[in-house]
Amino acid sequence: MKDRMDRRSFLKISGMSVGIGVVYQFAPMLARRAHADQITDFFKQVNGESPQSFTFAQFSDPHVGFQGPPDPLGTKAFENAVALMNKAPQRPDFVIFTGDLTHDADARDVHAQRMALFKSISSRINTPAIHTVPGENDAALDGGVLYREHFGETHYSFDHKGVHFIALDNVSRGHPEVGADQLAWMKADLARFPKTAPIVVFTHRPLFDLKPEWEWFTADGDDVMNALSPYENVTVLYGHIHRHDFAQRGNAKHYAAQSLIFAFNDPATNADKKQMPFDKDQPFQGLGIRLVGDNPAGNLELTEVELTTQEFGGLSGIQQISKPNEALGRSSSNDAD
């Protein structure tokens, strides 16, 4: 199923998570909108940048240090995804990682080695910047101490070419929550923006009750989304669930990304959460990244890219491993549309 998007709506585009090879005219889009001047002037004043075309990528849940079952290939999918990204015709302005960068380890030094290995692999991505948020494997046992030593603060924000990005930490308190302090910080951070500003939130866990009994929720997610509700253009990118999901709540669109280590089963048809078994003939089934590209009709089109056996045997070029997206339209039972 294709997810076609009106190129005049930036949020729909940013919500696709990965923009490899996107030729996206952000500034012309703004010129056709009533609030264009307001947003353009605002971002010029804030950071000296005029809204303009850009691409970025989302990787999620590489779990560096995990060794199956179900996936005995360790970091191979992650490394291949990095190589794949570097084959893309257009370099992304930055890459976001939505948590579980590493697999947890009982010994602190082992966990530190995994974080170092993650940094080594991710540093091969041909991009000027990498932005991360922690998953529970990275930061929940020690309150984020080791994570901060390697990656810096667990929550922060930045502006990029006319879009405001907010990195939220909903794992390091152990309990799946953002917490009152971070929520107050986010409200203050948002206060300077007009309600029409494009806002992208990236975090690890879903900010709504996707499947609470599988721990696919954030306890104070409603508080986060209520704070975001006055804003017209909100996209949430997250990981944790190791599979695609799309849900719309009010103005906000929530997109889950695939993992780079193993996939989980479908919560709509299964009572218990299980890792999908490893298939030696299709070792990267259910793993991958996303593409966003133009189609002849002038819309933007989402395409899922799975890491295939062909890719496992050696990179053959991005065109050969691109597959039309069939998964994104398979929404969760919580989907509004």
Binding site: H103, D104, D106, E136, A140, L141, V171, G174, H175, P176, D209, P212, E213, E215, F217, A219, K273
Partner: protein, 122 residues
């Protein structure tokens, strides 16, 4: 009767009324059943409990090692269980059904296996 005695009598009447009211109130509330549950890496003990619709129950939750969580969304229970203290949760199930309690405070690599089955029977 002196002023002091009148005052004392009045206090006695008030206390008596209050005590009587409390006794009546207490007699109408069913005493909650108490179920003790121990949490440790990475299981609950017991791992299966039976509750009854309309009957209050107090879960006495204790951790034997690290901080754990105890969450049953259908029964609106979500609490941390910290070691060294008893965490009490009282609930009256309003409907029959089968639920799963999970640990929702990350406690290590076996965290996802910490589950407890809850059957609410008539």
């Amino acid at each position: 009767m002196t002023r002091t005695n009148k005052f004392a009598a009045a206090i006695g009447i008030v206390v008596g009324v209050a005590t009587g009211a409390f006794a009546v109130h207490a007699s109408t509330e069913p005493t909650p059943q108490i179920i003790k549950i121990n949490a440790s890496k990475f299981h609950f003990d017991p791992d299966h409990i039976i509750l009854h619709k309309g009957q209050p129950v107090t879960l006495q939750l204790t951790s034997l090692d690290a901080t754990h969580g105890f969450m049953i969304r259908a029964l609106k229970i979500d609490t941390d269980i910290k070691p060294g203290k008893i965490t009490e949760v009282t609930v009256t199930p309003e409907a029959t059904g089968n639920y799963t309690a999970i640990c929702d405070h990350y406690c290590g690599l076996g965290h996802g296996m910490m589950k407890l089955k809850v059957n609410v029977e008539p």
